[in-house]
Subunit: 308 residues, 2 copies
């Protein structure tokens, strides 16, 4: 079965700590490597965790607060210095293009590879990327500045047909694909064998939703519904709702409430304020509302499995 | 005696490694904290080494290659978020102001403190900073893009007069300062006691020269002459002179040759290419020409003592 796994590179909010780096994640779907946000020192984290960063072809930047993109110039620069020639697709706020161009202008750098910019349109459910394995859609988040979340959805995989069915009904090789694609099978006697009798296992496409940074906003629920994994920021703990509201962030309790209402399979919280030395209390708080919550921890890999 | 000590925060060249961060140094002269270059993740290094970064009032950026300044936006942003109101003086290429302003414009950040920009004029020996404890002068380095080195010179300290001399010659309290400042002493009989008879110890002002990035260029020698500590980049090892020349960098051997010709007291090499996993060969190479060489190692502090 193809890979669908998330590696956390940074889980801190605006001010990093000596132990936690600002936001960055790497999502591997079927050996496509998607970098989601790129806080300062992301390239150092990629090296620490022995991830070959030249395999990253698509980078998604949620918004222009420094803790979500300040590592990008260094990463692009290292990609260049290490000989990259492959295109990088950058899904980002339009203004980031101006920022990147000014950096490379003043360092007199002519990149050996092309950056293709895909500027955010901030339209919910907008299809921003598609290939044969995955589609990626935008979610409009509710933050102090324009901010975009992302939903990564695996393309439907063809179901299995058992060898026994193929032999029993005498399905010829050239018709297997059409049966996998949903057709009934008509045997040599003209008898119709319904598709559902032939199929042994259907795979529900897996879905990962990334929501950082945002205040509590139920309008996102319909776009992240039933996600296998939801990453939702939890900058603060309960009791700091006023501060969360003022800064357009969420508490762990609020993240868990969104997870519950969206009926996701699993919640990962992150983007922790530097004030929290220990993360267990944030986890406890989220789990009090939504049991299947985990913490974003740098270097940890979460494998998203097909639902049974 | 007042402090004069250098802490290395990063010693890598353009592409960082999992173990070495890009260039940044902190120089403490009499509790003035000068940040010299600010590669990506400098704020994280400052935290790792438990340095209170709000004590930094003056930042010096040599040039606009990313490995020397990409940590600055994050550091300034964290200074702001953590409540700084004190002015930051930024000694840098003029273009950096444009870069910084565009970052803060698009993150809608109004810093709570003022940045006063001191744009490089690229004039050798130009006095760019002065207070009662230290003066700082520019050196024009020879790199692919305009690049400025810095010489930090302690202000002359007043010499000592022994208690015995004061008692023996009957020097009144109100004349001690003028004797320390070089005056002879005339006693009540009109006898002149020459200054050099009264002074027990003179302090030679300490001097730290920072030269990164630069190719081998003897024109810098007169400005770094007799420095107590010279930091000179040594991106490559001997045998890679052609690559060094092409990229306007130096080898360890070239750094040591400059140190020898400038008759400095001690040489520190750094800005190592990522190709060198082990640094001992670079040290051996430099020491073959200039014995008193040390390696820049992250987190290590070098105390610059007064010459006897």
């Amino acid at each position: 079965m193809q890979n669908f796994e998330l590696t956390i590179l940074g889980c801190s909010s605006a001010t990093p700590t000596s132990k936690r780096n600002p936001t960055a994640q790497l999502l591997n779907i079927a050996e496509r490597f998607f970098l989601i946000d790129c806080g300062e020192a992301t390239q150092i984290q990629l090296r620490r965790f022995k991830i070959k960063f030249q395999r990253i072809d698509n980078i998604f930047i949620s918004h222009l607060h420094g803790d979500h993109y300040l590592g990008l110039m260094g990463l692009l620069s290292s990609m260049h210095l290490l000989g990259r020639t492959d295109v990088v697709h950058l899904f980002c706020p339009a203004e980031l293009q101006e920022i990147i161009e000014i950096h490379f202008k003043y360092s007199f750098t002519n990149l050996n590879f092309k950056i293709i910019y895909h500027h955010h349109k901030y339209i919910n459910n907008d299809l921003i990327f598609e290939d044969d394995k995955v589609e990626i859609r935008a979610i409009v988040l509710n933050h102090r500045i324009p901010c975009c979340g992302f939903v990564f959805i695996e393309k439907p995989l063809l179901p299995n047909i058992s060898k026994e069915s193929i032999a029993f009904y005498g399905i010829p090789f050239e018709q297997i694909l059409s049966v996998k694609n949903g057709a009934d099978f008509i045997n040599s006697s003209g008898e119709i064998i319904p598709n559902e009798k032939l199929i042994t296992h259907r795979f529900i496409p897996r879905k990962y939703a990334y929501c950082s940074d945002t205040c509590y906003d139920e309008r996102i629920i319909e776009y992240i519904k039933h996600a296998d994994l939801l990453y939702h920021e939890a900058t603060f703990m309960a009791g700091m709702e006023a501060r969360a509201k003022e800064t357009f962030h969420s508490t762990a309790l609020q993240a868990a409430t969104i997870a519950e209402k969206a009926e996701v399979k699993k919640l990962m919280i992150g983007h922790y304020s530097a004030r929290y030395k220990e993360l267990q209390p944030l986890l406890d708080e989220a789990q009090s509302v939504f049991k299947n919550t985990i913490l974003a921890i740098e270097g940890e890999k979460t494998i998203i499995k097909h639902q049974e």
